[in-house]
Amino acid sequence: MLPASFDYHRATSVADALGMLGSLGDEAKILAGGHSLIPALKLRLSKPAHLIDLNAIPELRSITRQNGHIVVGAMATHTAVQTSDIVRSAVPFIADLAGSIGDASVRNRGTIGGVIAHADPRADYPAALLAADATVVLTSKSGSRNVKADDFFVDMFTTALAEGELVTEIHFPALAKGTGASYQKFSHPASRYAIVGCAARVTVEGGVCKNVRVAFTGLTEKAFRDNGVESALEGKPANEATIQAAALLAAKSIEVTGDSFADEAYRRHIATVQARKALLAAVAAATK
């Protein structure tokens, strides 16, 4: 399958890419890892006149620790995040998540920035960014702005990215002692996309759950935080009974989209199972 014709532009710096984006405008698409975009081009679901390739911009690949935050460059591959000691030591559940995406060869190309800019409702990262209270850095010719994950994911394949902006960094707050997090998913056996994924972050203080954040992917048009589950656990003892009770409230106030593989009722059930697993693992990590 061949894509429709386009012109190919290799950017060598963020400024270079922004310049190209400015001159080519909405005729152009950004090429990151390409593992969503190239299949879409081949199916001719997308027919841009220009592709701007970010793969030759080393500054977008870096992973560093800055003031209690882990700063992951938008072009960090899933393999790079999975194997990063910096990510593993400060937000281990993000390293685990990266290692669970697709397969080894897909992880060698796919990037965190590409995933979140694409905002596929089945992608793993968006739920984790919400639970982690991550911040997305968007850069344009006029500078950079920080957008909380809570405000970044707007709708199916739609984000807060404005015209002329690139995702350049994702900031994860390092997990403090007493705080744990986990991402658990039930994957489609062939595509390995999440049928339902749940990310949870919990602080346990004196045996009580605090600052609970729970987010799902795969249930509806975008990843979302589930306030029902969060508030059911907030201030409650960190034990199996309270976790199970909270998990059973998963997606109660959400319109769940089913498909031929997993209908609405099944997805709702899987959501409660993944919520329980993610919360138990988060609490175990917090109290370790």
């Binding site: 894509p3 014709s5 299949p39 080894a104």
Partner: protein, 157 residues
Amino acid sequence: MNVPITVTINGTAYTRDVEPRQLLVHFLRETLNLTGTHIGCDTSSCGACTIMLNGQTVKSCTLLAAQADGAEIMTVEGLATDGKLHPIQEGFWQEHGLQCGFCTPGMMMAGVQILKNNPNPTEEEIRHGLEGNFCRCTGYHNIVKSIQYAAKKSAAM
């Protein structure tokens, strides 16, 4: 507008002008006649087109040839040296790691990546590492044994 690229494949540098939409797998197979790399699903699921790009496996159906400019590539044709089989090839031969053979080039490249990351993998680690490669003959047991053979052989070398 065509793009000039120079790619080193199995130790040989090739310079060509490519159409931007040309996929890397078509560049290998049709432009350079390196037909050992196969096209299976063409959607980055099956792994028949797996090659090594700068030391990491990638699915060459989901990369543009233009993106490979400056890269070092190894395909299945690059495994044997001086007429001597690579341990992974010897493993597939000894352990009957292929039936129809269609998935084999990709399986062998995936096997090379598994052993590069972890020279002494468990059976489970091998199976996990093969998640992106489908064998429609379902000959997975012997493929796992072939990679185990290659691991032992490489350790003894």
